[in-house]
C-alpha cells in the first residue's frame, strides 16, 4: 500500500467526512518504519450512536488507537493530524504515523458505510511543550481551527446531534484552539459531552467557555503566529539557526 492508497483508506472518497481529513502526515509516510502487523488494537466500550460525533483529543498514537477502537464500533475515524514529520521534531508524530499505517488494513477490512458517524482524531500534544522549538529543531507544532471541522449545519444535515470529546486533561475545558470549534457548535445548539478516558465514568455534559479572540476576523492569523508552515501542507519547518554575524 503506497502513501496515497493509505490516505484514501483513512479518507475514502465515498465517506461524508473525508474532506476534513488532513493529508500532511501521510505525505511523509515513506520515511517511517511501520509497526508489526500483530501490534494489538485496543477496544473501548462505546455504544455506536449514529447521532453522535466523537472528537478524540489524546496524546500521540493513543489518539489513533482509540480511533481504531471506535472504528470497530462503527465510527469513521477522520485523521486531522496537520503536522509534517522529521526525526528531530518538536512534536513527536512517529507513533501516530506508525499506527495510521498499522490500522489501514484493519480499517479497510471493516467496510464502514459512507454515513458512519465521524470520530475526529487529534493529538493533544499538538502544541508541543516537551521539546522547545530551538534553532535546528523541526518545529511541527500545530493548532486546529473551526475550518478544520464540519459546520453545525453540515453535522445536523447528516444526523449528528451530539458531540463527545475524549480527552486526558485534568479539567473538562478543551484546549483553546478546540474551544473555538466547540463553542460554535454549542452556540448553534449541539449537545456537547466530555469523557476522560482514564476515568471509568459515563460522559458528562460540557459547557465550553469563550476563548480569547472568539469570532474575530483575524483569529487565525494570530493563532498561527509563531508556528511554521510546511511546503507539503500543514505545519512544520526547521527553526533557522541565528546568524553568527553581528553586523
Amino acid at each position: 500500500m503506497n502513501r496515497l492508497e493509505l490516505f484514501k483508506t483513512w479518507a475514502p472518497p465515498q465517506s461524508k467526512w473525508s474532506r476534513w481529513a488532513k493529508p500532511a502526515l501521510f505525505a511523509e509516510m515513506n520515511v517511517l518504519q511501520p509497526l508489526p502487523q500483530d501490534a494489538p488494537v485496543p477496544r473501548i466500550d462505546v455504544a455506536n450512536d449514529a447521532g453522535t460525533a466523537v472528537i478524540v483529543d489524546l496524546p500521540g498514537a493513543q489518539s489513533v488507537q482509540v480511533g481504531l477502537a471506535l472504528a470497530q464500533d462503527g465510527y469513521r475515524p477522520v485523521p486531522l493530524f496537520n503536522s509534517a514529520y522529521q526525526g528531530w521534531a518538536v512534536v513527536s508524530v512517529e507513533g501516530i504515523a506508525q499506527w495510521l499505517a498499522r490500522g489501514a488494513n484493519m480499517l479497510s477490512g471493516l467496510s464502514l458505510p459512507p454515513e458512519a458517524p465521524p470520530a475526529f482524531l487529534l493529538d493533544s500534544k499538538r502544541k508541543g511543550g516537551e521539546v522547545l522549538p530551538m534553532p535546528g529543531k523541526f518545529d511541527n507544532r500545530w493548532v486546529v481551527f473551526p475550518q478544520d471541522f464540519p459546520s453545525y449545519n453540515y453535522l445536523m444535515a447528516n444526523g449528528i446531534r451530539r458531540v463527545l470529546l475524549f480527552h486526558d486533561r485534568s479539567n473538562a475545558q478543551p484546549d483553546c484552539d478546540l474551544a473555538h470549534v466547540l463553542l460554535r457548535w454549542q452556540e448553534a445548539g449541539l449537545e456537547l459531552y466530555e469523557s476522560r478516558l482514564s476515568i471509568d465514568a459515563p460522559p458528562a455534559p460540557m459547557r465550553v467557555k469563550k476563548p480569547s479572540n472568539f469570532g474575530t476576523l483575524w483569529y487565525r492569523v494570530l493563532a498561527m503566529a509563531g508556528l511554521r508552515r510546511n511546503s507539503a501542507g500543514g505545519f512544520g519547518d526547521v527553526v533557522p539557526e541565528p546568524s553568527s554575524s553581528h553586523g
Binding site: R3, L4, F7, A11, R19, A21, P23, A24, F26, A27, F145, P146, Q147, D148, F149, S151, Y152, N153, Y154, M156, A157, R184, L217, W218, R220, V221, R229, S231, A232, G233, G234
Partner: protein, 265 residues
C-alpha cells in the same frame, strides 16, 4: 522617466515579484498530496486577469501620455500588480486566506470570494489611474483612498453577517459567489469615485465623498440579504444558498452608479 519614477518602478517590480512568486508557489507546489487541485486553477489565473484589467483600463482611460507610452503603460501596470499583490496579503486579517482555505482545504467558495476580492482591489487601483494627473503619487493617493474604503466596507459586511464563517466553515458556494460580486461591485463604485483629472488632494477627497457614498448603500443592502441567506439547518432543506439573484443585484447597483455618475471630468 524621472528619478522618483524609477524608484517607484523598482519598488513595484520587487513587491510584485515577491508577492506573486509566493502566490504561485502556494498555488502550484504547496500541499499537493491528497488535496484537490481544481480550486487552485482559479487562483492561479487571477493574477493574469488582474494584469489584463490593468492593461486594458490604462489603454482605454488613462492619461494620454500614459496610454500612448509603452514605458508608462508598463510602469503603471507593474505598480498596479504590486498594489494588488501587497493588499491581497491583508486578506487573511479580514478572514479569507488563499493558502489556508483554498490550497490546503480545497474550499471552492473561498476561491471564488478571493478571486472577487482581487478583482475588487484591481478596480480600486484602476480608478486612480483614470484621468490626467501630475505623477504616480497621485495614483497612489487615490488608490489608497479607495482601497481603505474597500477593506472598511468588507469589515462592516463581514462583522455584521458572519460571511467569513459561511464561506470558510460552511463552504457555501452561493456565499462565495455573492461575496465575489460584493467585492467587484465595491471595487467598481470606489474605483469610479477616485477616477478623474487631478486637481488637489482636498478636491479628490471631496469628490470621493460625493461619489463613493453608494458603497454605503451597497453595504446597507448586502447586510440584511446576507443575514437572511445565512445557512440554517432545517430538515429537508438545502445547505447551499442562492447566488445568482443577489449577486446580480449587487453588480446591478454598481453598474447603475457608474451610469449615473457618467464619465469623469
Amino acid at each position: 522617466m524621472s528619478e522618483d519614477e524609477v524608484f517607484a518602478l523598482i519598488v513595484s517590480v520587487i513587491a510584485s515579484l515577491v508577492c506573486w512568486v509566493i502566490w504561485y508557489r502556494d498555488c502550484l507546489f504547496v500541499a499537493r498530496f491528497g488535496n484537490p487541485t481544481s480550486c487552485r486553477t482559479r487562483l492561479s489565473s487571477m493574477p493574469v486577469v488582474c494584469l489584463g484589467l490593468f492593461y486594458l483600463s490604462l489603454r482605454l482611460w488613462a492619461s494620454h501620455d500614459v496610454r500612448d507610452s509603452f514605458t508608462y503603460l508598463g510602469f503603471y501596470t507593474v505598480m498596479g500588480m504590486a498594489w494588488v499583490g501587497v493588499f491581497q496579503k491583508l486578506l487573511p486579517w479580514f478572514g479569507l486566506c488563499a493558502r489556508d482555505d483554498v490550497v490546503e482545504r480545497g474550499n471552492s467558495a473561498a476561491a471564488t470570494a478571493i478571486a472577487g476580492a482581487l478583482i475588487g482591489l484591481t478596480l480600486c487601483f484602476t480608478g486612480g489611474n483614470m484621468g490626467d494627473g501630475p505623477g504616480w503619487w497621485v495614483v497612489v493617493f487615490s488608490g489608497g483612498l479607495s482601497t481603505v474604503a474597500f477593506f472598511a466596507a468588507w469589515m462592516l459586511v463581514a462583522r455584521a453577517t458572519g460571511l467569513v464563517d459561511t464561506i470558510t466553515i460552511e463552504r457555501d458556494s452561493g456565499a462565495g459567489v455573492r461575496t465575489a460580486a460584493f467585492f467587484v461591485a465595491a471595487g467598481l463604485i470606489l474605483g469610479r469615485a477616485v477616477a478623474g483629472d487631478w486637481v488637489s488632494a482636498g478636491a479628490t477627497m471631496e469628490d470621493f465623498a460625493i461619489l463613493a457614498w453608494p458603497v454605503v448603500l451597497l453595504v446597507a443592502i448586502v447586510i440584511p440579504i446576507e443575514r437572511k441567506l445565512k445557512p440554517r439547518f432545517h430538515v429537508g432543506g438545502a445547505l447551499e444558498s442562492p447566488a445568482l439573484m443577489p449577486a446580480a443585484l449587487y453588480l446591478g447597483l454598481a453598474v447603475t452608479v457608474l451610469v449615473v455618475a457618467g464619465f469623469w471630468k
